[in-house]
Amino acid sequence: MKSSALFVLAAVILFGFVSVAGAAEPYKVGAVFAVTGPASWLGEPEKNTVKMIEEEINANGGINGRPLEIIVEDTVGEEAKTVLAVKKLITREKVCAIVGPSRSGTTMAVVPIAERYKVPLISCAAAEAIIKPVKKWVFKTPQSDADAVRRIYEKCQEMKIDKIAIMSGTTGFGKAGRDQLKKLAAEYGMTIVADETYGPKDTDMTAQLTKIKATKAQAIVNWSIVPAQTTVIKNRSQLGIKIPLFQSHGFGNVKYARTAGAAADGVMCPAGRLLAVDTLPDDNPQKALLAKYKKDYETKFKADASTFGGHAFDAIMLVVEALKAVGDDKAKIRDYIENKKGFVGTGGIFNFSATDHVGLDKTAFEMLMVKDGNFVVAK
């Protein structure tokens, strides 16, 4: 008796879970970002961006006459939660594609799911491991670390620098950068004279910088995420180190430079052109798009546009293009993205192929320099 009652109860609860389809048939796209939690500096602009685009597209009549519905799930930057979020989007919401997750770790955790359920996943995380080796259903929009490294090394060559010191945070991003820096050093004739690391929560890097100061390094390359990037800048000036400092493309929000104050002047980083859109020549093919995105974002959210939001912009716009062209068939979307050439995004001009699921090369990067709390193209 009792158990049958329990069954009924269970059935009722479960029924409540099943979502009811709406009257209009929107295109459903999933988005998984670390909207809250420690990685929210990534997830928040990403969520804002996709929501902004959803609004804009629907205000203009949707795609092929059908509205676009972007279902955003918060991963809190946690792998277990991301697994659940992606399963929910795929099996319950039946989305035709997923943009995100924000972090490399969370992306790696859901790659097997995207592969198993055959849903295109366009990650907004940077790590090479996401697309190397190529996974059939997985793409990413942020430029590769290797290209950022190449850009830095080219700049170094230009500046006649061949001895560098590298610093990196012990995060997925930091480690990936460090690997690339070491791997590509020989190719560009760089000698790494110091290789220092620090924890993501470290509040003081003077010890590492003191070691670097004692070497013959001609430049420092730092690969990490907030807030460590700011600390490095401050500690560097505190120790009176005068050699140039390069940051990674994780330095993608102008407010990080501002937190460091005057000490940030002259710090360089390879970045998408978004941050220095005002200093771009007018004939740059990205300029109009970047200016619009930056202006829209900044008026709508009263916050600085960042390259991270840009990654989400590129990811969702790829899906939108695919929806326009082939509708919401998952396999067709995947094929469309894989064959997409000359797609102009905030991160660069994307040329995807069966062997390249990121579609960007080092030309996507511009070398930027901080000047009076703003980014300008480094000359």
Binding site: P38, S40, W41, T170, E196, T197, Y198, G199, K201, D202, T203, D204, T206, A207, Q208, T210, K211, K213, A214, V226, P227, T230, T231, K234, S237, Q238, L239, G240, K255, Y256, T259, A260, G261, A262, A263
Partner: protein
């Protein structure tokens, strides 16, 4: 940079960072002595100190000295309120419950700080400029001198307070034997309140002087608390001078460890020291072994 100037530099760095551990360790000891509680929210007091100061100086635009006093006052009141609202109402709580409560307190402070001031990293202007001073080939910031001075002032004031004032003596009596203290007419509950207020105040001062150096954001507390606790245990739990010496020692060891061994394991050094102390000499460097066995915490 020569080896000797490197060593001097590491020493400066270690003393600067060690001072904050010392201050957090002092805060732990004050509460521990009067209540036997290890306050997991101790690091959050430091964070709140930094954040409130940032808020008062940059958003409310108060002058520095006024903001300083106001910040310390606000955080002290927060500490006192925490004791009154979360610890005072409990009747004979077990140690387990107390740990969970201070842990919950730390999460609430952290969550609130995030909602109020956002997740960004905040900074404060240095008290007297950012021009590094050269010394034996190493550099030192004026702020470091301020930090050391503040630590010295705090230690002196505490020494005077505990040795020469009635309230301070009452607090010491409580730490030795609360039952006996209450028998001679000391209001133990008020002493507990006072100890929370006092260590919150010290935390706030630490937060204010450190934010210009190391920046501040909402989730700094846990690591600070852990390192401060390492200092408190290494110095002998309950021993104020011990905490200061141990704090500086840990700071210096960390700095040299990062400089000469491996920077990747830097944060592990203090924790490893803690585990080793717990295993070999739980009473710490300056503690009496009997005390640590008799006292619950």
């Amino acid at each position: 940079m020569t080896l000797s100037s490197q060593i001097v530099q590491f020493l400066f760095t270690g003393i600067t960072i060690g001072s904050i551990y010392a201050m957090v360790g002092l805060g732990f000891n004050i509460i521990y002595n009067s209540t036997g509680i290890i306050n997991f929210a101790q690091g959050e007091f430091v964070m709140l100190g930094g954040m409130v100061m940032v808020w008062l100086t940059t958003m409310v635009n108060l002058p520095m000295p006024l903001a300083f006093i106001l910040t310390v006052a606000i955080v002290t009141v927060i500490g006192a309120l925490f004791e009154r609202l979360a610890i005072y109402p409990l009747k004979k709580p077990s140690v387990l419950i107390l740990i969970i409560i201070t842990l919950a307190g730390s999460i609430i402070f952290k969550g609130s700080a995030m909602l109020i001031w956002g997740k960004e990293t905040h900074t404060l202007p240095h008290i007297s400029g950012e021009e590094p001073i050269e010394f034996m080939g190493a550099t030192i910031l004026p702020q470091t001198l301020w930090i050391i001075a503040v630590l010295a002032v705090i230690v002196t004031l505490l020494a005077v307070f505990f040795n020469f004032t009635m309230v301070g003596k009452a607090m010491r009596a409580c730490s030795v034997n609360p039952t006996a203290a209450s028998l001679v007419g000391i209001n133990v509950r008020r002493i507990v309140l006072l100890s929370f207020a006092l260590s919150a105040g010290i935390g706030a001062v630490a937060g204010i002087v450190f934010t210009p150096m190391v920046l501040m954001e909402y989730d700094r507390g846990a690591m600070l608390a852990l390192k401060g606790f390492c200092a408190a245990v290494l110095g002998g739990l309950g021993n104020g001078v011990g905490a200061v010496v141990a704090g500086l020692l840990i700071g210096i060891l960390e700095s040299f460890g990062a400089g000469f061994i491996s920077s990747g394991y830097k944060d592990g050094i203090a924790l490893l020291i803690l585990l080793i102390v717990l295993i070999i000499k739980p009473s710490g460097l300056f503690g009496v072994s009997e005390a640590s066995k008799l006292k619950e915490f």
